[in-house]
Symmetry: C3
Subunit: 281 residues, 3 copies
């Protein structure tokens, strides 16, 4: 049950694969086609979000899904409520991709993160990953922790302000899968041990009226030159972007700053995912 | 002068028709082409609406039309003022499609509604149609009533709260065309006699400050299981979507609930209309 | 160093040029291709503007550019800060097109304006141009004055309310290039001497809280039938559109009203620019 983003078998689609194994490179070459598809799909996603925001409620969501699936081959859905994509998938007869459901999950980000780790570090089994920042509301780190549990001998360090700690559902899942994890308040020590330091933004909108908690949380753990100094030569800094000031600018020029390469991988992974769902494997 | 959405003659466009009669199926097959065209066109329509909302007034509209027609082969226009599409068409040298002009008309919706009735009921001449809900501000029912007058021996029942009755311009037109119509306060009786029960949403924004009138109007005529019970076996429930609570959810699973099929027809009818105007017949 | 929009040499792109000189007509023929490209590009531009508005600041801009260039071949950027496109170009490894940077510059508009003057008047060397309206905040007239300085024996008249006079940076540049210019309060006299009367809109948003200054500025110099009467037979009225009331409607039917032809040229010039940057010359 190992996920392989970069070597899926594909058949009978001569225009794109010429009978060879499905490679990300083929997707990259076919960019023009897939980029149009992506644009059209995300347009639908944005429209749906607008509709949903006007009149939230699960019946409206069901109607929207049933209407949109009349025009579409696949639905990419971003939604402000945790669980909305799951509800949509229960209604739809076509594939639903969860492109972020509020503070819930962001699985396509996790796919590109895992792909980036494999490209940057050369392996996924046995890696040490530090997840830093808002772990309570950050859906990308929740999905990444979940996906890392599919690999062997992974260890995860959670480094976050007290008010935004990783929630129990993910911790329990990791434990049930035999994944080692621990919480730490010492970013320097974690950074010195990890293959990946995964920094995230503290998002003001997740705190509602509690500006005091937001101010308390942000700025506590910053990735800067001092953190780079203790990191190993082969290790990398990742970030889902956009960033505010949680990674200082002078980190950008270090070859271990992987976040812009990571962002670029997102295009290819999402193309691959769409192709997989639209044309099969 | 009978409108035929499904069998227009077309010639000399071998790529799409292979010398056969123009069929909706050909449009459906050619979806990729037309869907791109649709997207581009609706993008322009949305932009125009933004421009118009910023500085309404007929001179601005004329300038916008003259500017946009410099870039375009056709203009699809949604506008908040009744009559705006007609004014635009007087200015433009390219085709204008009215995609809804405030509380005025929504002719492409009427085309898809008529197409849906023909597919669902198998005929248009001789049908009985109940139009339900906000008939004063609902542009879709105004256009549908108008278009139904092109067929023979049609009877229309208007079922609406007193504050949002069908306006005299449409009633007078129907009378002048020899179309039978009557107003009724008894949804159950109308439903038992009709081939089509066409429900519409009561839109809050049409009432301005008069929330009291809105509250009075909505909820008065709901299509639910009890209405289904009195409807004939071959009859259908239609709705332009989105709905709020004017059709209860338990109606959806009845095969006579035609509204999601109706929505899907909208894509094909609009493709056909664009192709007709862009490549001729 | 003369700029030639209409006869750039291009080679080895047989699909579009058939081995001939690169002509705007070829771009026009290839519209479908380029229009898609344009749409995709402007979509990115709009998204970037949203991101920028949320959290302005030069670091955020750099991050955005580095992220977007991972997905793109070229970036067209509209921004609310003067100088933003220059900062972006310093960061990016791919071409940046400035599509308007606040009150700074709007170079693609200047390109289409110069192209329009050449088509309408038949020459650029030796022309007399009156720039009218908000010359302090109007980025289109700033860029046009700058670009006209590339031609020989040009004379520019600035006609504007006192509060929105042309700024010194452009005046100094014109002087340094040996371009004659003068300020005038007499629109009629300027109009009688010029080949081009270039009218611009007084934009309320450029005045912030100072509605009094806005009201003072607008309406001072209007292009109407009386202005047309003193203009020469071969001269033209231009405007970047949209207009409010600074050109009266009765001017539209005069063959010297060139502004809708000018708007249409914008599509072709931008296509040509994109093709030039994407496929070379």
């Amino acid at each position: 049950n190992r996920m392989q983003c970069c070597a899926l078998e594909i058949e009978d689609i001569p225009a794109y694969t010429n009978g060879k194994k499905f490679q990300l490179d083929d997707v990259i070459e076919a960019q023009q086609f897939d980029r149009d598809t992506l644009n059209a799909i995300f347009e639908v996603a944005r429209e749906m979000e607008k509709v949903e925001k006007k009149s939230p409620g699960s019946q409206i969501l069901k109607d929207t899904i049933r209407t949109v699936e009349g025009y579409s081959d696949i639905i990419v859905m971003r939604h402000f409520e945790s669980g909305a994509a799951r509800r949509a998938a229960a209604t739809a007869d076509i594939p639903i991709i969860n492109a972020g459901d509020g503070p819930g999950q962001h699985p396509t980000q996790a796919l590109l993160d895992v792909y980036t780790i494999e490209r940057e570090i050369g392996k996924l089994d046995g890696i040490r990953v530090g997840l830093v920042g808002d772990l309570a509301n950050g859906r990308t780190v929740r999905s990444l922790a979940y996906l890392l549990a599919k690999y062997q001998d992974v260890k995860i360090y959670f480094v976050s302000p007290d008010v935004v700690k990783m929630k129990d559902d993910i911790k329990d899942y990791l434990t049930s899968r035999g994944v080692q994890w621990e919480e730490s308040a010492d970013l320097m020590e974690v950074a010195s041990k990890c293959d990946v330091v995964y920094q995230t933004r503290i998002q003001r909108e997740r705190f509602g009226e509690r500006i005091d908690l937001y101010e308390e949380a942000r700025g506590k753990y910053i990735v800067d030159k001092d953190v780079l100094k203790v990191m190993q030569k082969h290790a990398v800094v990742m970030h889902p972007l956009p960033r505010l000031d949680e990674i200082t600018v002078d980190v950008d020029s270090d070859p271990r700053a992987a976040y812009f390469r990571q962002a670029k991988n997102g295009l290819y992974i999402r193309m691959a995912l769409l192709k997989l769902l639209l044309v099969g494997w």
